[in-house]
């Protein structure tokens, strides 16, 4: 492993100052489940690694505050998947968090890290998109709130500006009944990177929010206001037309070795139908 300096700031202000001082030569370390791999294989060669695990402002924790669920930046997948609030209001996020990596990885990997890594295959991206999450980022000029759909750019790139640190992710607690589900495709049942991810959230009003990943440079959100997907009696043909529109932005790479583009596109439709069916069942049970 390439040699680097290690810093462990005790406050957010110190961390921001370190980020200012080192610029792109610095990398943040939270769970380390992406960074350590990249340090080992040499694809990341920072001169300083800033460990954020002692910063109280980033402390792990999930709380409800003024109609929003606030997930601290260092909250790990295991805790998100098990949290009663998350399971009650954001089941698709719990489902996604529970399939990230392996048990050991979920005990370390943070939600903030998962989205900052900005892998198109990130499991938690589709549920955050369907739940209309907001990313809270602290920077030298204060705190910004970034809608999750405006956060992802492409693999490894977000709209965070240099020097910013994500402090929390917020999700608005739904004000009415919502049925949601998360689905993914992998090459095996054991822990694996997803070749397709997909979440849906269907509201009582008939609006369906559908998001998918791993089929293009960034995860995609599609909002269907037609009510067709929410209508259990809609024909398969009618639903297929909505899916065609929803998946129009999918552009899976022919160079991927995880799955061929035609398989991925076909699986989007299979997962979409399955997720909608599950979400409708859950909505009916609300």
């Amino acid at each position: 492993m390439h040699a680097f300096a290690y810093e462990r700031p005790a406050t957010l202000a110190e961390a921001l100052a370190l980020m200012q001082a080192h610029g792109s030569a610095a990398r943040l370390l939270a769970g380390g489940t992406d960074l350590i791999i990249r340090l080992r294989d040499g694809s990341a060669r920072p001169s300083v690694v800033i460990d954020v695990k002692r910063i109280p402002e980033l402390d792990p924790g999930i709380r409800v505050d003024a109609g929003r669920l606030v997930i601290g930046a260092r909250t790990v997948m295991t805790d998100i998947a098990a949290d009663a609030h998350v399971r009650r209001h954001f089941l698709a996020l719990a489902e996604a968090a529970s399939v990230v990596g392996s048990v050991q990885i979920r005990n370390r990997a943070t939600l903030a890290g998962n989205i900052c890594n900005a892998s198109p295959a990130a499991d938690t991206a589709p549920p955050l998109l369907v739940y209309d999450a907001t990313v809270v980022a602290a920077g030298p000029d204060g705190t910004r709130r970034i809608p999750i759909d405006a956060f992802f750019v492409r693999s490894g790139v977000t709209t965070l500006v240099p020097g910013e640190i994500v402090t929390a992710i917020e999700l608005p607690v739904p004000d009415g009944p919502l049925g949601a589900a998360h689905q993914r495709r992998t090459r095996r049942r054991g822990h694996d990177l997803a070749s397709v991810t997909l979440s849906v959230a269907i509201g009582g009003s008939g609006t369906t929010r559908l998001a998918y990943g791993s089929v293009g440079p960034r995860p995609v959100l599609h909002v269907d206001g037609s009510g067709v997907l929410a209508d259990a009696s809609a024909t398969a043909e009618a639903k297929a037309r909505v899916f065609e529109a929803a998946f129009a932005d999918a552009s899976p790479s022919p160079r991927s070795m995880r799955a061929g583009p035609d398989y991925r596109l076909a699986m989007l439709r299979v997962l979409g139908a399955r997720a909608v069916a599950t979400a409708l069942d859950r909505l009916a049970g609300e």
Partner: protein, 764 residues
């Protein structure tokens, strides 16, 4: 009673005591090669190029040498001229790349430094100027007219195939295939491919070499320490007595650790630097060091209407990579039993070892047989379908019975194989109704056991009645230590905890040819048994002298000495027999199977490994997901000396077989680079990928050549996993499957193809 007077019963064969060394393995106390720390050792890092095939123009080590802690950057220029080559079958692999690289991952230089970080940093800074040459990657590439030659014809003198990429052609067979084909009632043929996979032993491959007086000491994760000793003696020009190989118990080998890889390089580096040198491969580097041969097989079966097989005609091309290693032997021995465990009047087999610019292939559990089994058993199913005969029935009708001729020049059928088939069929519920979307498959596998063998053992009965067994087998997890201790315990009446089994040091332990081909229980087991019997003979002589009676009147067995008038314990003889000065009783044993020069494989099978695997699957038609609902494996083992270990070997082999069946494969790009190096994009089965139910059973008729009637059995349950799973998926869906692994995407495509075919039929 116990021989040593402790009152503790000996642990006989046929029971399942705790694994000898098992606690060390599960607590992490066991010292693997990578745990061996020699003072003053240098860490080695290999320098490789990001291409498969290139001419090396120059190597500039100046920047690497400037890294603090770097002691040497070693290249072919640091070796004797011509650069020494080695290999178990062909002397073709250079110690380090010389002039050119032949596969992605072949080292062109090696850095030795005080720390691993310094070695890695310096390895990045070695500047290699090279000219890339288009590689031949696939069998088709290699056989195309005018293809780039992987091996320089000059290293293959007097070889008519030297101007091609075919290293060897093997022809086996008997009877008149063409005449049978003219009268067969149905002929079915097909093409099948088997993916390139790696062994994925959990213990990393590791090598340490240290100057040792006027010789050298080498620690290696090697399965065949004596063979490595011979290779090192050859390339270093040292007598065997000056090359000491330490081979701590490996953490999984599966064939990948049979033969020398980087030991010669590390030995030269240790001699050059005068310091111990140490190389532990990463998983990514291991992918570039060991893999299984991959195949394209064309198979043709002819059957008569009653279901009997009239002929089998097989052409098998094996992609063996850039150097031969032991792969050509894999090709010969893997294709030789291609007709299967059946009575077949006419068989024609043509197999070829094809050189390519890919990782040199080597032995892998099953030794070339699973590749051909996938083709032949799958095709036999199609033939049964064409005849309208049940797939189990066609197998029962043709499977050889004890004493039947298989290959006329080889060992006859040496087991009641139909018992295994019937048992597996019963366990899977063959013929019973299935839920929709489910299917069943059944397949038979056969593998020739060792064709030659030589194992020596020394058993030392010490003055307190405890025992040391010296046996040169490598216990890589199969449990050889336990089985040898059980044999000694049975023969000498000593409890297991008073027996030490010493392995893995060529200066101390007598010669063993190799740990492979599921041979150790049979060959080394017989050597240990005969060494124990030698100890018994010496005890008999000792007792005769003590009691003044004729040796012939005394019997020693199982720790009991039977005098004409009474029984006494071994200690009752040993103690007075050795007397005040102490000492020990030393027994020597040997098991030998000689080569047969006129035999097509230079030796008939010591025994056959026979297995029947039966599978029930459920298939998700929308996604192509295959769920193994039930996996049944039945092996003919002769006698299970340790039933629990036998079961673990069967289950382990079965699960390993699910890897190449469902998910494992190397992905090469057009430039011959491996795209999925490492664990992220090369997937092996996890506990979550296991069958929902798995059952293993054995057939024991005590009809093997090993101790107490045992046969070797560690590979059998892997032989026909793919064939049985493929058959079950075919049964569930009607989709034809020819290419492994059966990933969801591959199955999904086969389902689309089935739909297309059905639509065509409807249209007609």
């Amino acid at each position: 009673m116990s021989a040593d007077g402790t009152g503790i019963s000996p642990t006989r064969v046929g029971t399942s005591p705790n694994r000898v060394g098992g606690i060390g393995r599960v607590t992490g106390a066991q010292q693997y090669v990578a745990d061996v720390r020699l003072p003053d050792a240098l860490e080695v890092k290999l320098v490789t190029l990001g291409v498969a095939h290139a001419r090396i123009l120059s190597i500039d080590a100046s920047a690497a040498l400037a890294v603090p802690g770097v002691q040497a950057v070693f290249t072919a220029a640091d070796l004797p001229r011509p650069v020494p080559r080695f290999g178990p079958q062909f002397v073709d692999r250079p110690v380090i790349a010389t002039g050119e690289t032949k596969y992605h991952g072949e080292p062109v230089a090696a850095v030795a430094a005080e720390t691993k970080d310094a070695a890695e940093e310096a390895a990045r800074l070695v500047r290699v100027a090279y000219e890339e040459i288009a590689p031949v990657v696939t069998i088709d590439d290699a056989l195309a007219p005018g293809a780039e030659l992987v091996q320089d014809p000059s290293i293959r003198p007097n070889d008519p195939l030297a101007g091609t990429n075919v290293l060897r052609e093997h022809r086996f067979g008997w009877g008149d295939v063409d005449a049978e084909a003219a009268t067969a009632d149905v002929i079915v043929e097909g093409d099948y491919t088997f993916p390139m996979v790696t062994h994925f032993a959990i213990e990393p491959h590791a090598y340490i070499a240290a100057p040792d007086g006027d010789g050298i000491a080498v620690w290696s994760t090697i399965q065949h320490p004596n063979w490595l000793q011979r290779i090192l003696s050859g390339v270093l020009g040292m007598p065997l007595s000056k090359v000491r190989v330490y081979a701590p118990d490996p953490g999984g080998g599966f064939g990948g650790k049979q033969h020398a890889k980087y030991e010669p390089l590390i030995a030269f580096m240790a001699l050059r630097t005068g310091r111990p040198c140490r190389l532990v491969l990463s998983l990514e580097e291991t992918f570039q060091a060991v893999r299984r041969t991959t195949t394209k097989v064309h198979v043709r079966h002819g059957l008569r209407t009653d279901g009997t097989i009239a002929f089998v005609d097989v052409r098998a091309d094996y992609n063996i990579g850039a150097y031969a290693d032991i792969a050509d032997r894999v090709v010969a021995k893997g294709s030789y039993p291609a007709a299967g465990p059946y009575r077949v009047p006419a068989v024609r087999i043509l197999s070829r070892s094809v050189l390519t610019h890919t990782v040199p292939a080597t032995a892998f559990r099953g030794f070339g047989n699973p590749q051909v089994n996938w083709a032949v058993e799958s095709n036999l199913d199609e033939a049964a379908r064409a005849l309208g005969i049940d797939r189990l029935e066609v197998r029962l009708r043709n499977v050889a019975r004890t004493g039947d001729t298989l290959n006329p020049v080889d060992t006859r059928c040496d087991g009641e194989w139909d018992q295994s088939v019937r048992k597996a069929a019963e366990m899977i519920g063959w013929g019973r109704p299935l839920p929709a979307g489910h299917g069943r498959g059944i397949a038979l596998g056969i593998k020739s056991g060792p064709t030659t063998g030589l194992s020596y053992s020394t058993v030392r009965l010490l003055s307190d009645g405890s025992v040391i067994v010296l046996a040169g087998t490598s216990d890589m997890g199969q449990g050889a230590r336990t089985v040898f201790a059980q044999i000694a315990s049975t023969e000498l009446g000593v409890p297991l905890d008073r027996i030490a089994v010493v392995m893995g040091d060529t200066s101390i332990v007598p010669y063993d040819q190799q740990t492979s081909a599921s041979r150790s229980t049979v060959l080394m087991g017989n050597a240990v048994l005969s060494a124990c019997r030698d100890v018994q003979a010496r005890l008999r002589a000792m007792a005769a002298k003590l009691h003044g009676i004729d040796e012939a009147a005394i019997e020693v067995a199982g720790g009991v000495v039977r005098l004409p008038d009474r029984e006494i314990g071994v200690m009752d003889v040993l103690k007075p027999g050795l007397g005040r000065m102490g000492g020990e009783v030393i027994g020597n044993g040997m098991a030998r199977k000689d080569a047969e020069p006129d035999h097509p494989l230079s030796g008939s099978a010591a025994f056959f490994e026979f297995n029947c695997t039966a599978i029930e699957t459920a298939v998700d038609e929308e996604t192509g997901d295959v769920t193994i609902v039930k996996h049944v494996t039945v092996s003919d083992v002769g006698k299970a000396l340790n039933p629990l270990q036998v079961r673990m070997q069967d289950e382990g082999a079965a699960i390993q077989g699910l890897g190449h069946t469902l998910m494992e494969h190397y992905i090469y790009d057009d430039a011959g680079r491996i795209r999925n190096l490492g664990a992220i994009d090369y997937r092996i089965p996890t506990s979550m990928d296991l069958p929902l139910h798995m059952e293993s059973a054995v057939v024991e008729n005590e009809d093997g050549p090993g101790p107490y009637g045992a046969k070797g059995m560690s590979e059998g349950a892997l032989l026909c996993v793919a064939s049985a799973v493929g058959a079950a998926v075919r049964d569930a869906t009607g989709a034809e499957l020819h290419d492994l692994p059966l990933t969801p995407e591959v199955v999904w495509r086969a389902l689309r193809e089935r739909d297309r075919r059905r639509a065509e039929e409807v249209a007609r």
